[in-house]
Every structure is written in C-alpha cells, then in structure tokens.
C-alpha cells in the first residue's frame, strides 16, 4: 500500500477532475429538472466543440476566440437539439427522451471520427497558458488550470443553486420540476424555460469539453463517454435533484478515481469508480427509503 505522501499528488489531480465532473453533473441535473431529459450527448457536444477549437487554434485563430467558440458551439447545438426535438419528444417517456440524446451523441461521435481522423498518428491537443504557471504546496505541484477547474466547479454549483432559488427563471424551472402541468396553467412560458435549460446545459458542456481536453485528453471517446459516465453517476447520487449532493458526489468520484492510481493492484479498475460509488449510493438510499416506508407502515 502506498504511503500517504505517495497519495498526496493525486488529491490535486482528483480535485481538478472532480470539479469538472461537478460542473457537468450540475448541467445534467438542471436540464433534467426543467425538461425531464437526461442529456447523454453532454460529453459529445463538448468533445466536438473542443475539436473545433483545436482546429481554429491550428489555423492561427487566437486561443481565446477558439475557447469561446467551443462554449458557444455547445450552447447552440444543445439548444438547437432541444428546440427541434424537445417538443416532439415531450410526450414520450424518459427512456425514449434519453436514448434520443444518445443518438445525438453517436452522430457527433461519428462526425468527429470522420472530420478529425487519427491517420498519420497526429495527436491533437489543447493547452492553456495556465498550464505553465502554478504553485507548490510542499511536494505538491499545482497548476492554474487545475485550480480553475475546481473553482469553476464550485462557482457553477453555487451560482446554479442561487439561480434556481432566487431568480424568476430558476423558480420557474423548480416549479416545472415539481409539476409541469400546474406550472403551465399558471402562465409560465414553458418553452422559454426549457430553452434556457437546454442552452445552459450546452454552455456547460462546452466549458467542460474545452477544460477536459486540456486536463484529460482531446480524444473523442474520452470526452464523449467518460465525462457523461462520471457526471451521470454524480447526478444519480444526487437523485437527479440535489445540486449540492451532485457536486459532492462528483468531487468524491474524481478524488477516488485518481487516488486509486498508485495502488497498482487495482489501478486498472479505476474506471469503475463512478459505477461502484453510484451503486453503493443507490443501495444505501434505497435501503433508507425501505426503512422509512416500513416505519410509516408500522
């Protein structure tokens, strides 16, 4: 078993990843609460945005323009999908709605493979200027990109929670989450609220995509699937409702995933982290529900 000192570097990398998973998880929860749709295309949208940003940087465009394009692309594509298919799918069950977003994910995944093939072994990558700066905490090296990832995760969690609680639009979203029909009869413009949720989710997908392209890899498979798996697990632990719990779960998933790295006996199974943690959390929560139900019946 590695010593505590050997574990320490992975706290930094794990927190940075956890921050991005949190940001993504919050995006998924907000959209789900407003529309009832689990956006499985979240990762693919971010991935394609990141690849577009990469091409722009290669073409000589300023880095910041490329980053913003990635974020805007995420927002536009997700909003476009929501507006185009959302109404048609609104009457269908959660399974159909979610699988349809998986369809979008696979389409984007295929387009990325076609447009950015790895012929010739070229390795696309994105780097931020913040990669080269940072500070040390004892033996730990921390770069500014990692700090930004965690800080964004926290800021977006807090900001989204405040937005849902205090803003008119946020209140409408919460109302829709509670009862969509009654909310509609109260005169809330449901389509507009849904559009805002799709747009917000897409913008977060773009942010997560560009940051993960730097912190993890500019790889379509990684960005399309890994982000969604970890974020979805966090959102599940938050019961697709609680933003603070989703945030905490995402941080724990990121931390545990990376802290397993030095334990060579199990490090090749670290990708199971989100599944295992989600399964444990769901078991514990369902046990709690059974116990409270039996207490009520007793």
């Amino acid at each position: 078993m590695p010593s505590w000192a050997e574990f320490q570097p992975y706290i930094v990398t794990g927190l940075a990843l956890g921050g991005l998973y949190a940001l993504s998880g919050v995006g998924l929860v907000v959209l789900y609460r407003a529309t009832g749709v689990l956006n499985l295309a979240f990762g693919a949208v971010g991935a394609m945005g990141a690849f577009i940003a990469y091409s722009m940087i290669q073409a000589g465009d300023p880095d910041w323009v490329a980053w913003i394009t990635c974020i805007v692309f995420g927002g536009v594509v997700t909003l476009g999908y929501g507006m185009l298919f959302g109404p048609a799918l609104a009457g269908r069950g959660p399974l159909v709605q979610s699988i349809s977003t998986l369809g979008l994910a696979l389409v984007l995944f295929g387009v990325i493979d076609l447009a950015w093939p790895t012929t010739g072994g070229q390795s696309p990558s994105i780097s931020f200027p913040t990669d080269n700066g940072g500070f040390s905490v004892g033996q730990l090296q921390v770069n500014w990109t990692q700090v930004i990832a965690l800080a964004l995760g926290i800021a977006i969690t807090v900001g989204t929670a405040a937005f849902l609680r205090f803003s008119k639009l946020g209140t409408a979203m919460r109302a829709m989450a509670n009862d969509r029909e009654i909310t509609a009869t109260l005169g809330v413009p449901i389509r507009r609220v849904e559009a805002a949720a799709w747009l917000g989710c897409g913008l977060l997908a773009g942010i997560a995509g560009i940051l993960l392209a730097d912190l993890s890899a500019l790889d379509d498979t990684t960005l399309t699937f890994t982000v969604v798996i970890s974020s979805l697990a966090a959102a599940l632990i938050g019961q697709l409702r609680s933003i603070p719990v989703t945030f905490a779960a995402a941080i724990v998933i990121g931390l545990v995933h990376d802290l397993i790295t030095p334990i060579t006996q199990i490090s090749n199974y670290q990708d199971m982290t989100p599944f295992v943690l989600a399964a444990i959390a769901l078991l514990v929560m369902s046990r709690g529900q059974v116990m409270s139900r039996s207490r009520e019946e007793g």
């Binding site: 399974l95 012929t119 072994g121 390795s123 969509r180 599944f275 989600a278």
Partner: protein, 462 residues
C-alpha cells in the same frame, strides 16, 4: 403532455440513467478495445527528422526511372499478382503502408516491371474483424490468385492468418504488430514491433545510467509478451523495472505521469510504449505538472518518433526524451534511397494520404525488398517460387534499415533487430548525440537470443 417529475417518473429516470451508465460504459470499453491494440503497435506514424546514420549520401538526383531495369518501358507481360491487407478504421489507419507499396510497384511496372512482367497489386483493408480478415486472405488466394503477400500491416492479421499462410505456402512480407508477426515461420516484418522497440528504448536509458525503470504501456492483450522483453533487458543489467499498464484511451494523464515519475525516482527513467496520442498525453501531463526533470530520462518505443509529437512537446524535452527509431529518418536525408522514395511518392503516391512518414517508409521498404526478391526468380511466378525468392533474401541493403535484411527459412523472424535513438530538437527528431548510432537490440531478450541462434546477426548496412 405535461407531467410532474415526481415519484415514478424520477424512479424511471434513475433506472434509465443507470442503464445509460452501462450503455455508455459499453461504448467506452468497446472503443478502448478497438483502439487499444494499436496502442501497442510500434508502427510510428509521422515523419521524422534526423541525420541518417545508415545511408550514404548521393549528390546526384535520383528519378523514378531507377525503379526498374528498363527505364521508361512499361511492362506488358503476364501480371504477377501480389496482395496486401491493412487495418483501416476510424482511429487506426495503416493503409499508407500498402498504398506506398502500390506506388513503388506502379513505378516498377512503368520501368520494365519484373523481367517484363507487371505486378498486379491487390491492396485490401480490414476493420479488425477476424472473420473478415480470414475471408480476405482466402479471397486473395483463391479468387485473385495472388502468389505473394507484400505490405500487410494489421492489428490482428498475423494472429488470424498465420496458420492459413503456412497451409498454402505463402511467405508474407509486412510491417508487424502482433506477436505472431515475429514468431511464426511464414511472416517477416521490416519493422521491429512493440516488444523489440521497447527493448531498444530501455537499453538506451540503461546505457545512459538510469538506475530504475518505470515501463508503461496500454492495457491490451499481449502486454505481458511485450513487457517480457524490456524486463529481461533491465534485469540483465541488474536494474529494477516496474511494469504498468493503462486503459486506453487515457482519461487521467496527470495521475499516470505522477505515478510513473514516482516509480522511476530521480535517477531512473520512464519508458512508454503507446501510440503517439497516448504517449503525448502522458508527456504533456508531465510537462504541465513540471515533472519532466523529476526523473533522469524519458524514453519511448518507435511510435513517439513523429515530428508532430516533437512539435507539440516543445524545447523542454530536447535531450530529455529519447525515442527508439526502427527505420532511417528521411528528412534531410540525401541518400539515393531517400531520393527514390521522394520521387516515387511524388509521381505515384497520390493515395498515400500521410505523405512522408514511417508508414509510407515501411511500405517503400517492403516493396523494395519484394521487388528485389521477385527479380531473382527465373522460372514461373508461383506461390512456391515467390516464397522461395523471399526466403532467399539475405543481408539485403535497403537503405532504410540499420542492418542488412534477411528473410530466410526460419521458424521465427525478427530481421530488424538493430536500431538507433533520436531525441527532440526544437520540433524535429534528431539522432541522439550520445549513443544514438545503430545498436543491436540486446540478446538479453530471450526472443532476440533465440532468433540470433537460428539466423545469426545480420551485418550493419554499409
């Protein structure tokens, strides 16, 4: 229909989410499996730039007329049917190898052919589907009536077809990836493959004084076979080596880089055996975390030998990263062979999408050796005569390899077992100033020792 997101619906959504986790994980792992074997390929991918250590220089300009014995005279005789199978799928495309071989053969055909006979080339592509690969091999033999296979390069073709080639008596000349490309009687490669290239990388850092090795590669079938080579080389020098494997695509490069640096220690070396994208991820992560100087050396098997990787890494890695190189670099190379390569690529290589690079270089070398073998045949061109001609190739100077090329009639084939080492130099790879010249792969690797016991040691190319 408006509906509340309460109770049953949320439960249903949770179930969907849980199912989706499984579906997405399935997609993710399936994709990993698809791309992972390529990660252990030692076939590099892009162009290199270093002074040629093996090729002589030539002041004269070589044109495509040097392809054949009758410059400018098109071959019109009965065609000699030759086949090839390459992997070509999203993320893994080796088809530049057969495309360049095809360009070389086209050049030969336009300049007299093989004793007046044109080579009719049947390049096929596959998508790592064993039944498809087996069917392609049979189709080439029974329908297309090929008498030889020159230009194969596939993730799994050697393991799928080795027994078939033996049964029909065809000797294959290709660029190998899986172990069967080196350990079976009917296949020989122009490249060294992941195991022996990793041997070379480990051997280099040991010679530079590394006292501990952290060897990392993708977690795919066959990693134990590959790791056995570097492990034997390090242990023969009394240096401890720790093996790691990573699931690919890599999702947490920062953590991996940290792990490797910790394992190697300040006087040790990290040695990577990955495709360029994965290796670059780890190296860039080390750079972002300022870890590059926390070990004495970094090294890579051949796939890292791409200008793209050198450019992406930047000057911090000059003289810090050392990469095993299996074939002669072409940038700045003025040898007659390099000039012929350029001329063929320019005139006949419109299908070679990657242009100058290791894949096209391998295709050129395969076709060059194949043509040399075919030209030695005096009777009819049959499977038996072509295989016999290939087996007769001995110490042939390709101008592309460190040593002469020998096919031979052996139970296994590792004809390329001498290499050199390159290091980044401001966006290009150049020959390492210390110990970068052609060096024999250590016979501490039992597979190398076994091969040399039956085939001997080919001389260095002059």
């Amino acid at each position: 229909m408006n509906r509340p997101l309460h109770g049953r619906t949320r439960t249903a959504a949770a179930v969907v989410a849980a199912l989706a986790l499984g579906v997405l994980a399935g997609c993710s792992s399936s994709s990993s499996t698809t791309t992972a074997p390529a990660a252990s390929s030692s076939a590099p991918a892009s162009s290199t730039a270093a002074a040629s250590p093996a090729s002589g220089s030539s002041a004269s300009t070589v044109s495509t007329s040097a392809c054949g014995t009758k410059p400018g005279v098109a071959a019109t005789g009965t065609p000699i049917n030759i086949g090839a199978i390459n992997t070509k799928q999203p993320g893994t495309d080796f088809s530049d190898i057969e495309n360049m071989a095809g360009a070389y053969f086209a050049c030969v055909n336009a300049n007299g052919g093989i004793n007046g006979h044109p080579i009719k080339f049947f390049p096929e592509t596959e998508q790592t589907n064993p039944s498809q690969i087996a069917a392609l091999a049979k189709q080439l033999v029974t329908t297309d009536h090929v008498v030889g296979m020159m230009g194969n390069s596939s993730i799994i073709e050697c393991s799928v077809d080795a027994a078939y080639w033996k049964s029909v008596g065809i000797d294959v000349l290709g660029a190998g990836i899986d172990p069967e490309c080196y350990s079976t009687p009917n296949t020989a490669s122009v490249n060294m493959g992941p195991r022996y290239s990793s041997d070379g990388a480990v051997q280099y850092v040991l010679a530079q004084g590394a006292n501990k090795i952290a060897f990392d590669q993708s977690n795919v079938p066959g990693t134990a076979y590959i790791a056995a080579g570097p492990s034997a080389v390090a242990k023969a020098k009394g240096v401890s080596i720790q093996d790691f494997t990573e699931n690919v695509p890599i999702t947490s490069a920062n953590a991996i880089a940290t792990k490797l640096v910790t394992a190697a220690g300040p006087s040790g070396a990290v040695v990577l055996n990955f495709t360029p994208p994965e290796a670059l991820l780890i190296l860039q992560a080390a750079q972002k975390l300022n870890l590059e100087d926390r070990v004495k050396y970094w090294a890579c098997s051949t796939p890292c030998n791409t200008d793209f990787l050198a450019t992406s890494l930047g000057p911090k890695w000059n003289g810090k990263l050392f990469v095993n190189a299996e074939l002669t670099p072409l940038d700045g190379n003025t040898s007659a062979t390099a000039q012929l390569f350029d001329a063929i690529l320019k005139q006949y290589g419109s299908d070679v999408s990657g242009g100058v690079g290791s894949f096209s270089e391998m295709g050129f070398t395969i076709a060059e050796i194949g043509t040399h073998a075919l030209e030695s045949i005096t009777g009819p061109y049959t499977i038996a005569s072509v295989s016999a001609a290939l087996e007769g190739v001995k110490d042939y100077n390709t101008g592309m390899l460190c040593q002469g090329y020998t096919y031979g009639d052996y139970s296994e084939h590792i004809p390329n077992n001498m290499d050199f080492t390159v290091t980044p130099d401001n966006g290009k790879f150049v020959q390492a100033s210390s110990g970068g010249a052609c060096t024999l792969i250590s016979a501490s690797d039992p597979q190398i020792a076994a091969y040399r016991a039956i085939a001997g040691t080919a001389p260095m190319a002059s």
